[in-house]
């Protein structure tokens, strides 16, 4: 029995649009941490490919399939985006599967202004040559840990994963910096 209270609450306040920059929260996205068991990375890669039709990225990259995307966040560690934890059951023999859907607030940032804004924020080279579509970086913005994903090249599009408890502080910073 569900009376609608299962609907996740937004983590961020709303961001009014600005010229060349749209910031929107993506609410309710499934996010699951997948960690390969010791020595099982190859096996995991095989299972993911057969079961989900996706090649697990090496390193900090994003690879997207039909329903699911994987984001590399550490050696043998990924965030699986888009499918609920139950759908990842086939991976359970070779990986730890931990639901994090409640842990993150996710922002999508699009437009020419997005790169400029994020460039102020992260100490990472966001030049197309260094951080093109599919690039991922787990880093910090103003003392807040984030995972930044470049989802598209043109117009520049990014997703920003922030733990929920810090979302409002980060939103304040974004509001200030967007001017």
């Amino acid at each position: 029995m569900s009376d609608g209270w299962t609907r996740p609450a937004p983590a961020f306040p709303a961001f009014p649009p600005r010229p060349g920059l749209a910031v929107e929260e993506i609410v309710g996205r499934s996010i699951v941490t997948v960690v390969a068991r010791a020595g099982q990375e190859a096996a995991l890669r095989a299972v993911v490919e057969t079961a989900l039709g996706v090649l697990l990225p090496e390193g900090p990259r994003r690879v997207a399939g039909q329903e699911i995307a994987f984001i590399g966040i550490g050696p043998g560690k990924w965030l699986a985006i888009g499918l609920p934890v139950a759908a990842l059951a086939p991976l359970a023999d070779v990986a730890a599967i931990v639901d994090q859907s409640g842990a993150y607030g996710v922002l999508s940032l699009t437009g020419a202004g997005a790169r400029r804004l994020l460039g102020r924020a992260v100490a990472i080279d966001l030049d197309d040559a260094a951080f093109g579509a599919g690039s991922v970086a787990t880093t910090i913005i103003e003392h807040v840990g984030v995972t930044l994903v470049r989802t598209a090249a043109t117009p520049p599009a990014y997703e920003l994963y922030v733990v929920r408890s810090y979302a409002r502080s980060l939103a304040h910073w974004l509001h200030e910096t967007m001017g």
């Binding site: 900090p60 050696p75 970086a137 787990t138 880093t139 910090i140």
Partner: protein, 86 residues
């Protein structure tokens, strides 16, 4: 100072925290003579030159790294995952 994290790529050192010089032996386990255990945890060669230290990329991939660095110049020669350091 920037460190080439073997997973994340080059990052500023402030994303990391440092545990200190890597001891040559596994630190402390029961059965080691007390003097050795005390030395393993506390003593440092601390050379005015190149050395290996444990760094933790807490703001990135959360890997423990062995960083090869010169204490006089801050030149970072490289970093590897610390798994299997002992």
């Amino acid at each position: 100072m920037r460190i080439l994290c073997p997973y994340c790529g080059e990052r500023d050192a402030h994303e990391f925290s440092i545990r200190g010089e890597a001891p040559m032996t596994r630190p402390v386990v029961i059965g080691v003579p007390m003097a050795e255990a005390v030395a393993a945890l506390h003593d440092r060669r601390n050379p005015p030159g190149r050395t290996r230290e444990f760094w933790y990329h807490g703001a990135g991939c959360r890997s423990w790294l062995l960083v090869d660095r010169d204490l006089r110049t801050h030149e970072v020669f490289g970093a590897t995952l610390a798994s299997g350091a002992f």
